[in-house]
């Protein structure tokens, strides 16, 4: 990752306000765009923003700012920056900060704060955002002296992106923003770099264990993309021919159609993937963390496997499943170094790949409950990414449509799939797509959303229009909080409770009210033309697709059960 920075030299500069110094310091960090929303306590920064050369994107809700910064960060691998005022502005960022924490996204969130002498007095729009966010940040600051700003900002961006990335909060009192200074303080030394245990000895032991395996399997996660290890993983899979299963966030690390790829594992994983995990004798876990959505009931997960766990974050190793061999440090380096030689696993490969073919999704068989002329969402999504340019980015919201995206879209780069994995944040899709599209103006960016989720950040349609951001939105409208409806159907004896959205607005009309082009698709026969229209459109556009509420996500591992107990439609 970034090199270890050196402390800023103590020196003098022309008289500058804290706010101006902040923006100058952000520019030094290469910040080219800030997603934000103004208000009282942050006004000095907005004043300094004019003519600063930094682009500001005005969202219509601070949650939109935070998630757009996440989309920007995940599409580029760079640190995303968001800005809000104190009090309600700051609390509106919280969901985005939590999302970045759970998905290890490099994010710097800057909040205005009431003047220092009023802090702690319950002043107007004062909340202790430092305290509120303590459990969901990698680090945080309250700025006490403007002369600290250059060093503090340098450190904040370093921490956000170093090692396992995460969010950093900077709370910026108004008086510090207004204060004039000619000094910059020498910043305290940076924390030590922690030793790595990915030593030659552990790598050799891992190679030995892999050589002894009859049924080795890779279980990969989001760490592959974040650790820039895609190339190294692919080469290792090529060298060893070991089959691979992936978490939601690892999708794309191998192309979806890669000959060794068995698919996503876990609650909505593919059968070939879950069965392989249950039978593996050595599981090589790379950049994944035994999340319960991936493992099902933990003590039934990979019951026969010895574990090799590779992760940049040593605190993940042995956290939930004891590793026989732990290898921390750079995944990129460790995957490149791991070289067990030629393996004799033909039978295992045949079994795994045979199953993959056996359980291949059948998009043409009429599906229960789907009226013959209706739209079958899995097929639509399958076709969507195969029509879209190869480097298209897909962001999505949370629910059944999110799982269909994971199961049926084609990915050949994990940065092309931007989904809220750890937090499962409804409302993520559109702002994340907006941020990704801004970061990558030459690429096609598509947001797949649901009729529940879209309403959680619908106001960002105004942002798309304001900046003419050509995001393409596919709204899969089943008239329900579908994922919750499915659980009520399957696990609560069809006792439907507050899941029917019979009173949804007309989404196409709504989009047009925001000056976003929109059209509605109701028949399977209209889908191909719809996709073509969507992809050919120059500006932002919404394709509103009516689908059958009764269509569920399969397979499904009931909560608290083993991944072997998959339910099917």
């Amino acid at each position: 990752m970034s090199t270890h920075p050196t402390p800023t030299d103590e020196n003098k500069h022309p008289a500058l306000s804290g706010a101006k110094l902040l923006l100058d310091s952000l520019k030094v960090q290469g910040v080219d765009v800030i997603f934000g929303y103004p208000g009282g306590a942050i006004m000095p920064v907005y004043d300094a923003l004019v003519g600063s050369g930094i682009k500001h994107i005005l969202s219509r809700h601070e949650q939109g700012s935070a998630i757009a910064a996440i989309g920007y960060a995940r599409a580029t691998g760079r640190v995303g920056t968001c800005l809000a005022t104190s009090g309600p502005g700051a609390t509106n960022l919280v969901t985005g900060i939590a999302d970045a924490y759970l998905d290890s996204v490099p994010l710097v969130a800057i909040t205005g704060q009431v003047p220092s002498d009023l802090m702690g007095t319950d002043a107007f729009q004062e909340v202790d955002i430092f305290g509120i966010t303590l459990p969901i940040v990698k680090h945080s600051y309250i700025v006490r002296d403007p002369a600290d700003i250059p060093g503090l900002i340098e450190e904040a961006y370093y921490i956000a992106s170093e090692g396992r990335p995460g969010p950093v909060l900077i709370d910026f009192p108004k008086d510090v923003a207004n204060a004039i200074t000619t000094e910059r303080h020498r910043w305290r030394p940076y924390p030590k770099v922690k030793p790595e245990m990915g030593t030659a000895k552990n790598l050799a032991a891992a190679e030995e264990l892999i050589r002894s395996a009859k049924k080795p399997l890779f279980y990969i996660g989001g760490g592959i993309a974040q650790g820039d290890g895609v190339h190294e993983l692919r080469a290792l899979v090529e060298r060893t021919q070991i089959p691979v299963v992936s978490t939601l966030k690892g999708l794309g690390a191998l192309p979806s159609d890669h000959p060794n790829f068995l698919g996503m594992l876990g609650m909505h994983g593919l059968k070939a993937a879950n069965y392989a995990v249950q039978e593996a004798d050595v599981l090589i876990v790379a950049g994944a963390r035994f999340d319960d959505r991936a493992t099902g009931k933990l003590d039934t997960f990979a019951p026969h496997a010895k574990i090799i766990h590779m992760d940049i974050d040593v605190a993940e190793i042995n956290k939930l499943r004891k590793a026989n061999i732990g290898i921390d440090g750079s995944l990129k380096k460790n995957l490149a170094a791991l070289n067990p030689g030629k393996l004799d696993i033909q039978d295992w490969q045949d079994l795994c790949l045979g199953r993959r073919d056996q359980y291949e999704w059948d998009y043409d068989t009429p599906v229960k409950n789907i009226k013959s002329e209706g739209v079958y969402a899995p097929k639509l999504l399958h076709d969507l990414t195969r029509h879209a340019p190869e480097n298209a980015i897909i962001t999505c919201d949370v629910g059944q449509h999110q799982m269909w995206v994971a199961q049926h879209c084609y990915f050949d780069d994990p940065k092309d799939h931007i989904t809220s994995g750890g937090l499962g944040t409804m409302g993520f899709g559109i702002p994340a797509g907006l941020g990704a599209q801004l970061a990558c103006p030459d690429r096609t960016v598509i947001t797949v959303t649901g009729d529940g989720s879209i309403m959680m950040n619908i106001q960002e349609l105004a942002t798309l229009n304001r900046y003419k951001i050509p995001l393409k939105i596919v709204l899969l409208d089943n008239g329900a909080l579908g994922m919750v409806r499915q659980w009520q159907e399957v696990f609560f004896e069809e006792n439907y409770s507050e899941v029917h959205l019979y009173d949804n607005p007309d989404f196409a009309v709504l989009a047009r009210a925001f000056q976003i082009d929109a059209f509605t698709v109701t028949k399977g026969s209209e889908v191909t033309a719809g996709i073509e229209k969507l992809l050919a459109h120059k500006g932002p556009i919404l394709m509103h697709v009516k689908i059958d509420q009764a269509e569920n996500v399969w397979p499904l591992v009931p909560p608290g059960r083993s991944n072997a107990d998959m339910m099917e439609r």
Binding site: G131, H139, I142, P191, D313, A315, L320
Partner: protein, 100 residues
């Protein structure tokens, strides 16, 4: 309440121990450290913090876990992940906690 207690997952595993955490400073870091211990599923029995001659702080905490898949080594690593935590380690012998 009684149903909660009957549920095995709410039974404490009785992992208790004493941790020594060295903090580079206390403002912010103390709160972050204590918050992490609590959030990761441990209860305090005793907390002590003193400044050392080199300016760092020694934080001694006696804790007991709340059940589930937890271990003190992982907690130490999670604490060491915090900025301005210099080190975190188990000290003394492991004792079994009295059950409530």
């Amino acid at each position: 309440m009684s149903t909660l207690q009957a549920d095995k997952t709410f039974e404490r595993s009785g992992v208790s121990g004493k941790l020594k955490v060295v903090l580079h400073d206390v403002s912010g870091t103390l709160l972050r450290t204590l918050g992490t211990i609590e959030r990761r599923g441990y209860d305090y029995r005793d907390v002590h913090c003193t400044q050392r001659v080199d300016g760092d702080f020694d934080l001694l905490v006696q804790i007991e876990d709340l059940g589930g898949p937890r271990n003190l080594d992982t907690l130490c690593k999670q604490l060491e992940r915090l900025y301005n935590v210099v080190s975190a380690e188990k000290v003394g012998r492991r004792k079994h906690a009295e059950r409530a």
